[in-house]
Symmetry: C2
Subunit: 251 residues, 2 copies
């Protein structure tokens, strides 16, 4: 296990800091999680895909609030003008015609009830705790750390490029229309992570701040990983669904 | 699955409210979790017990901060004088001679390094997210809900009475001295939960508030359950330990 706990101990050049951040992704992004491999290999059943979509909705739904938390802490209008694009992407012009709405379409396309998905009551508690930790982090840590925690977007085009073709190929009930959420995401993610990475490079100007941004990205990878762990545990074997959570058999 | 989402819809008598709260415990307290049964039946190996102690430390360590959060929100000196006993129990006269110190002794008695336990770096991210959710809940929800979330103490004498004799009987390296944390807990928990229950009964004087206290207790049961789910997933099968977390094989 390579650790990142003192990766910036002696201070890093910008190139080395970026290399460490990319190495965090190479070692800890959730494209390495067994559940992702099961998904792309066609090994999940419909109930497991439903559980994934239903739980991931909680994450999608909190993203604009996370970004608004960051916006509220940013004193630079130029920064805010750039960062608010993220909120527009997810909420759309009217609130229900952006990324969140497209995620609801994905969940509904897999056979879930829209109202039930939006209510979030059937999500795993562990999902809510992870998503809540992300929101708290962006409000309680420094603005630099909050921005750095978004850098998982550096790696998301990779996982989307694996996930979408595999889901279309392996699950006959998955259509391009159901997966429309992902269509604009690689371009949006590249724009957003370019901006966030440049911000981090400019502002992480001490060894301590460099370590803080590395830790923030590790934390965010832990969030995504823990969400898949919780799904894997609850829906990977019979008898593991926690009390009150979504039960595919009960639908 | 019996739900509690609208248990107080029409308002409950005090006796019925208490009955619903006790039913929440009967259905959702973590003495029902498979991992608890594995522990009391002697089925866990030393690494699994170590992982349990190491992760549960994060919960123990946050309890006085959770109680101080409640203390900080309480305007009644009589309430505060009662509630601060909880902090004294866990911190002891000097900080390291109360319940937290006894939990460190338990962890060390199972072969863990004390400093590593206290540092919390090897705990599962899911444990940290659950514990963080509990702390946030007690700061962000109403004082009544924060108090109600402590009512799992109503059920803790039960789980301790199962856990302690079973651990002494089933694991030859577990001694009464290692388990000294639990010795005063049933009396403390009964005192604390009597007080909290009386407070809840007095202040949950509308159907809406009754529902809020029921939801708060369900939430707290979810926290404890999710902590055992995370342990069960990470240490129940090979290959499931998330990146960076405690690995018994690596000690």
């Amino acid at each position: 296990m390579t650790g990142f706990a003192d990766a910036a101990r002696n201070g890093l050049s910008p190139a080395d800091l970026e290399a460490v951040l990319r190495e965090v992704g190479a070692q800890r992004y959730h494209n390495l999680h067994p559940l992702h491999h099961q998904m792309t290999s066609g090994a999940l059943n419909r109930g497991q895909l439903q559980a994934w979509a239903l739980n991931r909705y909680c994450y999608q739904a909190v993203i604009p609030r996370k970004d608004a938390t960051i916006l509220a802490r940013a004193e630079d209008p130029t920064f805010r003008a750039e960062w608010r694009k993220r909120i527009e992407d997810h909420d759309g012009p009217t609130g229900w015609d952006g990324g969140i709405a497209r995620w609801v379409k994905l969940a509904a396309g897999l056979g879930l009830d829209e109202a039930s998905v939006k209510a979030e009551r059937l999500a795993l508690p562990a999902t809510r705790f992870a998503v809540g930790a992300y929101l708290s982090f962006c409000g309680n840590r420094s603005l630099l750390e909050a921005v750095a925690s978004s850098l998982t977007e550096l790696f998301s085009p990779l996982i989307i490029a694996e996930r979408v073709p595999a889901m279309l190929a392996r699950y006959d009930y998955v259509t391009p229309d159901i997966l429309s959420y992902f269509q604009p995401r690689p371009v949006q993610a590249a724009r957003d992570s370019d901006f966030a990475l440049a911000y981090v490079m400019k502002h992480a100007d001490t060894a301590e701040k460099q370590q803080a941004v590395i830790d923030a990205l590790v934390f965010k990878c832990d969030i995504l990983w823990a969400m898949l762990d919780a799904l894997d545990h609850a829906y990977g074997q019979p008898g593991h669904i926690p009390p009150g959570a979504f039960d595919p058999e009960a639908v």
